[in-house]
Symmetry: C2
Subunit: 270 residues, 2 copies
Amino acid sequence: MTPKVFYISDGTAITAEVFGHAVLSQFPIEFEALTIPFVETIQKAQKVKQQINDCFITTGERPLVFHSIINPEIRNVIFSSECVDYDFLNTFVAPLEQHLGVQAKPLLHRTHGKSNHGYETRIDAINYTMENDDGQTMKHMDKADIILLGVSRCGKTPSSLYLSMQFGIKAANYPFTEEDMDNLKLPEALKRNKSKLFGLTIDPHRLHEIRQSRMENSRYSSLRQCRLEVKEVEMLYKKERIPFVNTTNHSVEEIATKILDITGLERHMF
Amino acid sequence: MTPKVFYISDGTAITAEVFGHAVLSQFPIEFEALTIPFVETIQKAQKVKQQINDCFITTGERPLVFHSIINPEIRNVIFSSECVDYDFLNTFVAPLEQHLGVQAKPLLHRTHGKSNHGYETRIDAINYTMENDDGQTMKHMDKADIILLGVSRCGKTPSSLYLSMQFGIKAANYPFTEEDMDNLKLPEALKRNKSKLFGLTIDPHRLHEIRQSRMENSRYSSLRQCRLEVKEVEMLYKKERIPFVNTTNHSVEEIATKILDITGLERHMF
């Protein structure tokens, strides 16, 4: 039977999910997961305990619980349920206390709350990216931290958004279109910001697939056109010595963190 | 002295960052963190080892290392450095193996790579949100998973983007403007999708602050106007029985996960 997993937290439960998912993905089996955030009261914890116990009765197996609950009374309610408990935070707090010679002072909403400094930076970055997506204006390119380049549908927009959302980076992006291909060159606003340019490229077959699902059997989506655009754009990157990555087999997370790794831009955390 | 921390991974290092940050934020002191992703070769690991050892020599204290490296040879290079090592994944793998009766089979890029199912869902959701941001069109409202409502600058766009990026949810959003206030009501396309509506509200003073930084001393940013808009919109939510949250003291993560918690929309993981 597919093992059942609960991710439980008194906050967003994002940490519990990320950690539990990372541990469980080491196993070659499927899990059925349920996330329960904002368990901030004894009453809510008792309801969760009931859910866990019901799960045990139904399946005959104790579900796995990954939790990050700060309040000890609430935590004890969860502990007292019929679960296999992985208290992943506290496992490391005691050895760290000893090493640092500092006592932990756990606070609620410490990791994904709003108190973290730099929160305005993040919202400003998201707004910047929205306003400077897809080359809709060149006016603010001088304010960018990074400017992603690439053909239509190679991953510019999701990558830019991830950079701004997760890392507070003002990421603009600029598309090269069909019309640019005869004489591909950098517009003035980009030349001026040469050190901020970063290219994306993609396998032409994959690009063809993606474009087909948007505009079937068009010139835009033809393999011939995809090949041409990718070839021209990669030549430009090389000629202008613009660093670039191939997005074909990579997730948004991988593309964004590779860009930061290559450019040396700082990773903020929120 | 501020303790030094390294987050090291053979992948994006996002898991190492999230976990390490969650553990360290239990302590009432500052840390100086450096993230090193994509440590995929022995050579790169040896460079990292050198960095760690240099840090030890400079500061006289072994830096903390949170890592998620799968390859044992690469991991051993990091282990052999002058660090205090927190191998947070493997700490839980052995007890889980025993409990599940299944042997772990660690794979590279397992958590933030592209192999995770539902990846297209996510990109589709991001595209949907970009195309249906700020009420720019009402044509696709029927396809939304959720439609966020609210006055200008109350947090609709970042929340929608987070929902699509992190949870693969097609989140549209629709703004109520100054002109709507005399006779505030739901447009037809929203009435038709009543069950998908979710309201955001905000403290008028905070709204005033945010708007001031964009359009100083305008009618739009005046406290009087902010008060009026928030009051009208909250009355509409109550009259139409639209669930809503106040964004004033919450991060994007908290707003997004609260919305999912209240609506019961499923959290996908990518």
